[in-house]
Chain length 337, copies 3
């Protein structure tokens, strides 16, 4: 595909500084871009890389007025780059239609243009919306519902009763609707299983990474709000509620019945204990452990998690400890004298 810089500027609603007729044939990161490709740069570090690299043009923020190469100035260069990348991404040729090895249960309703890949297994009373793609080896239990335009990658397991929204992407190996980890300890030290009879309900435009595990509710629902983005190897326990646009990074885990309100970000390897609520737009740092309710719009870190600013102050004082020890020693000397 070949586009002029002018055409790209139109697509991303940016303004050009430099030759608007140059031809762009691809996109790449600043340090990897070759002649004929466009890149983007926001920070000084990447502006330098773009300047010194071979890219023919650069998407930059509005505050950049001058640059030794043709630029497109735009409000959100990252978003603009994503859009240009989409434009240059070749459409992938995939199998489409119902593969002869796909097994379909009783009373299943399939929308228009649904694909069921090889060795897909669909349970009874399942409803699948228009244009849904189930890749090879996907398993759907009974009464599962999948909204239109969703894409389920190979070997995803969606167990009984789960409801998946529209335009949802689920990556390989993920399991939706696992029994929650619920047991009662008996007097002899053994555990009695609590039946897990609730379900998982996932909103629209959710993306879930690979080898994630999301538990069904004990009773009621485990809820993943619309727009949530979940990375690889994340654990979400029974009866958890995620609001809208919650982002959860790899290897994080959320214990039973906790709530993450709209816009919360849970960074990598962070954890949340049971029955707590994290207020909207709060950011939980990597490896932090949230043990109690947390307000909105905060940045918390550490375990137990508290305000990152306090955490940093505590660390700073801890780092001064060797000097404190010296000061005490000197005081002791003087007082002894």
């Amino acid at each position: 595909m070949r586009k002029t810089l002018k055409e790209l500027a139109g697509l991303i609603q940016g303004s050009i500084k430099g030759n608007e007729d140059i031809i762009i044939e691809g996109t790449a990161k600043a340090e990897e871009a070759k002649r004929g490709e466009i890149t983007f740069a926001v920070s000084k570090k990447f502006l330098d890389k773009a300047r010194n690299g071979q890219a023919s043009a650069v998407i930059v923020p509005l505050e950049i007025k001058n640059f030794p190469k043709p630029i497109i100035r735009t409000k959100n260069p990252r978003l603009a780059f994503a859009q240009v990348l989409e434009l240059f991404t070749p459409q992938i040729q995939r199998f489409s239609g119902i593969h002869p090895t796909a097994l379909i249960g009783k009373d299943v309703k399939l929308g228009k243009d649904v694909t069921l890949g090889p060795y897909v297994v669909v349970g009874d009373r399942v409803r699948i919306g228009d244009n849904v793609y189930l890749s090879s080896g996907v398993y759907l239990g009974n009464k599962v519902v999948i909204g239109k335009d969703s894409f389920i990658h190979p070997r995803v397991t969606i167990l009984d009763d789960a409801v998946i929204g529209e335009q949802v992407i689920i990556h390989s190996g993920t399991v939706i609707g696992v029994d929650g980890f619920g047991f009662v300890k008996k007097e002899d030290g053994s555990y009695h299983k609590i039946p897990q009879v609730g379900r998982v309900v996932i909103g629209n435009e959710v993306e879930i990474g690979a080898n994630v595990a999301i538990d069904r509710a004990t009773t009621g629902e485990t809820r993943i709000g619309s727009g949530c983005k979940i990375d690889n190897l994340v654990h979400i326990a029974h009866n958890v509620t995620l609001g809208k646009n919650v982002a959860i990074v790899a290897l994080a885990g959320i214990s039973g019945s906790s709530t993450l309100e709209d816009g919360v970000i849970l960074a990598g390897q962070a954890g949340v204990t049971e029955h707590v609520t994290i207020g909207s737009n709060t950011i939980v740092a990597a490896k932090a452990g949230v043990t109690k309710d947390t307000g909105s719009g905060l940045f918390v870190s550490g375990f137990p998690a508290r305000l990152h600013s306090k955490q940093k102050r505590a660390k700073a004082i801890a780092n001064r400890l060797p000097r404190l020890v010296k000061r005490i020693r000197e005081l002791e000397k003087k007082v002894a004298e």
Copy 2:
């Protein structure tokens, strides 16, 4: 299903206070229960929720003498609730029998009423007990043994030589019998693989979550004792030994050749290094890292893990650091005078 409160009290061996003839048609959490449903409450918080909610009756501990709704008083309300929940859980209709797409190896012995779902693959010389259920896409390697009444969810992989007990539940995506992570570093910096030729042996009434990985032993056995409960995304390395009724919460990991004695609880994201033993009934807090042998009946936290009481004292003193700094400054002033 409809039951009188009296019938339920009989089932859970509790005593009723209030109208024993009311009809119960379901169960739910205190805040979600509707008229006609029964809930349970142990703590003040949930007793309040039950009082203010719509539940028609509540299962409570013996110490509750009066309540504005009909109650069933019982020694272990959680266990009682689990039993009532079981009663009200509708039997799920599932495929049963040997699916025509299931592939069975040579010299396989199947018990009575065994189900092999679609696309199940069973290796050679496998033995499967009565009433075992292998869901869609389960893979069993050669010489695997599965005891009666076990339920294996879709897409579980059980590799050669593993022995699984009776009434075991294994959730989707889990892999049993992975090669352990064993290598010898050579002089040129590369690693030489140590053959992993042992096996995994799992006792009775064990439940294992989704996307768990359990390694086979290098030689000998990796052992999971009867009654163990393992949550999602847990890693268990080669030659680990779990006693009876050990509980391991999500995203925890146990390194090679370590032992967790009976009744140990390893909380979420905790870790255990190689060749250590954790004494019976010790609780390891979330995110803790156990680096040396630990006695029985303790509560340990932090990394390296030590007694939680000591850990808390250390944290308390650390929190007083800013005040200590002030006190030193004042002393310095006075001494200077």
Copy 3:
């Protein structure tokens, strides 16, 4: 299999002290070895176990001159033991050839002696080298390349465009080529997906554990160097670069665009943030979090990670805090007087 001690010594290039004609029929750990078996021991602890156990012979380091049982003295007893273990490991009988249920796409090139197990799915334009083994249920996307002598365990998913080297082992449930976790936040708080159009390139003699997730690059390549060993449940994000012989232990995670140079060891549950480089042969302790570039040949721990020696000193001082508090109190008393 039966071998004389002399034959084993020849294999591992060691020298015998004791009766070289005794017959060895197997190998086991020091405490589990039975009469007729050989074990190995390096540390005093295991030398004692070997002395008191039933093993008929022991592989030991050169510095051991005398021992009450026949020994083979060798430079690297671990490596020697691995070689003896290989010798005694019976060849496993497996299905070989192209199973009738294996589905093969268009324009696929298969080398000699390739096995495609039951329910394997191979996409279009795939190239598979000689003697590659794809176990049951493996999925290969379009244009995947697999080098000769590689072994892919059941239910591994290798997505479009991935390139896998020679003699690579990938364990069950692992997913290669997942979309990276890349989104742009929009003004309304929702996320816009950045297309992930790069690929994964894996070198030779790499081993990857079970239920691992490796992301494809946004553009360009996620690279796993030759000789890397990756344990179970590890997360590797888009555009990560691993040098040669990097070892990553279970439940560790590496964020986008970071580099681990040759010989780095990342211990269990450790994490690495985005865009950092860890110098060659540096060891990152368990649970550590690396947040900035790190030199070569270091041992770092903690979060944020720093030199382990500094970390330990800081911990030691922190442990002395209660005594510091006492010293301050005494000073205050004296000064008040």
